[in-house]
Symmetry: C2
Subunit: 160 residues, 2 copies
């Protein structure tokens, strides 16, 4: 079990978009070159974000993507679920129903205890992701990256 690399790309792209001046777009091409990933494939991740209404795209020259909401209102979970899907990591196939001793018309009152535990673990994972917004990520990045590198990077990004 492993998250797609698109998730990583989407998170990095959103981090950049969240620090962008208003009414400014970044194109797939620029984002792909900046991160050193295939442009065509990265576009699929951005499409997923677009369909989830996390970013919005514009056509034509100087077009691209920008955030559709304020960075305070976008969480890691939003991005991960947009790219990876909203389904739970553990799906219960109800194999307990195949128990040959069970009556055919027996109806389970509660969810399978195993599925319950796995589901709670899944919720713990999601809760953590829901607790970190893009705004918070921006603060951490600013504390982590040297100011001059940050400045040069945005210079590089916005000059194309």
């Amino acid at each position: 079990m492993q998250l797609k690399s698109q998730v990583e790309w989407a998170l990095h792209c959103c981090a950049l978009l969240s620090a962008l001046p208003p009414n400014r777009y970044l194109s797939t091409k620029v984002l792909a070159e900046f991160h050193g990933v295939p442009k065509e494939y990265l576009s699929k991740a951005l499409q997923s974000l677009s369909q989830a209404a996390l970013v919005e795209g514009t056509l034509g020259p100087s077009g691209g993507y920008r955030l559709a909401r304020a960075p305070e209102n976008i969480t890691f979970l939003d991005i991960v679920e947009a790219v990876e899907g909203r389904g739970p990591s553990f799906v219960c196939n109800e194999i307990r129903k195949n128990n040959p001793c069970r009556a055919a018309d027996y109806c389970e009152a509660r969810a399978c205890p195993i599925a319950q535990v796995m589901g709670q673990a899944d919720q713990a994972w999601r809760s953590h992701l829901r607790g970190v917004t893009l705004a918070e990520l921006g603060r951490r990045l600013q504390a982590d990256i040297p100011a001059d590198l940050l400045e040069r990077s945005f210079e590089w990004l916005t000059s194309r």
Copy 2:
């Protein structure tokens, strides 16, 4: 991202094995028929458990598997990691190193903040799984399943 169905099977099989009398084995064949899953493929999951030293197998007639440790000392995490692998769900490919503005010899002091958040979420997931043992699962199952069905099931299992 989705856990393999083998994880579910392994958990159900371990639940049964944990309620077994000492020095009693259950064969792949019986476990597969009980759960209604392909015998040959289930055996792969049990092999993983065996390699992780969670269960131990015996050959010949009346052979099969039994737990290698007490149910109190086996957690959900042990089983999930044995089948699914110990690797984290999010792998950081360090795409920040591809930043064209970065000096080539620049050395990152800390882990990428994005990877940190994802890693902490992963740890939250693992912590929850580590907190539930097979013994605890056994108690919940006993509370969830009617006593007569439980008894008939073990009758069915041990009579083969």
